[in-house]
Assembly symmetry: C2
Homo-oligomer: 190 residues x 2
Amino acid sequence: MKALEERIRKDGKVYPGNILKVDSFLNHQIDIALMDEIAEELYDIYKEEGVTRILTIEASGIAIASSVARVFKVPMVFAKKAKSKNIGGNVYTSRVTSFTYKKDYDITLSKSFLGAEDKVLVVDDFLATGSAMKGLLKICKYAGAKVVGVGICIEKGFQPGGKEIRDMGYDVTSLAIIEEMTSDGRIIFK
Amino acid sequence: MKALEERIRKDGKVYPGNILKVDSFLNHQIDIALMDEIAEELYDIYKEEGVTRILTIEASGIAIASSVARVFKVPMVFAKKAKSKNIGGNVYTSRVTSFTYKKDYDITLSKSFLGAEDKVLVVDDFLATGSAMKGLLKICKYAGAKVVGVGICIEKGFQPGGKEIRDMGYDVTSLAIIEEMTSDGRIIFK
């Protein structure tokens, strides 16, 4: 997606350790017009699939998922990052490893909001190692819901998540795929 | 706001300890059309104030703030709940007490995204003890930003937050104010 790649080039900041900061428009301060463009792009691809739910994970997926749910005219639902002690019996639970924070945590979703009748488009801001996304996909599996696609804003193509999730058979749409971030701060897209 | 009160009556669930669950439409599964109605309501009230930023706190404020930012055509920014160890020098920080989780935590906001030139509408899903909102207002104060108003979906009128924040001089708009939740599960609005 041209507009997203241009925005990443313009406002993204590259830090050592392959860290890309896009917090001026994607995951701290949010440019809603850009979210709506992203949503239209995903709608074009998945509009014939009978999507009934947009699923994401808190916190930075929520703004994107809101825009996507608006164009699909379906509810948005987000998985919560919870400590194990807060987990009751009426939720789907899945374990995620955070590489940013170097710890494991559980994500949970109420069983009321996802079921076998659902056709789900799963969206998130980033796809890198794929741990959070695999957690969301596991929750869809527990629910018996059909995943019609995975919509990602920025995929770090040099990390294994995207390939692994495609190899699992999922249809992954990444609107910007970064092939390389150079030591002098340039971003090369696939 | 009639539509919101009706929705709370229809789908809200009252639990012992004055707990109101609205997770089927407001803070776990999200009804985007309702968020957009809420946004229009707040726009009607604050449209003449020259709002430059919509501020909220992760996670459940984000969907509402996204809709509000869309109608105001300004960026949305959300404060993050961070452990102290993750806090660098380039952020505003404020301490919040969570009564749900019975612990204190810091909220942070990058200094890049809020400054003395900003006119801010602060929004959130709930106002009860007011601890999170006071944290957000403190961050606005640190930034030197002007708070034009506080927009809340559901205020628990029987808890002190709303009165305290109004007494501090802020213009608080709560779209539904709950006066009482009875032991047989009825919800009485102000």
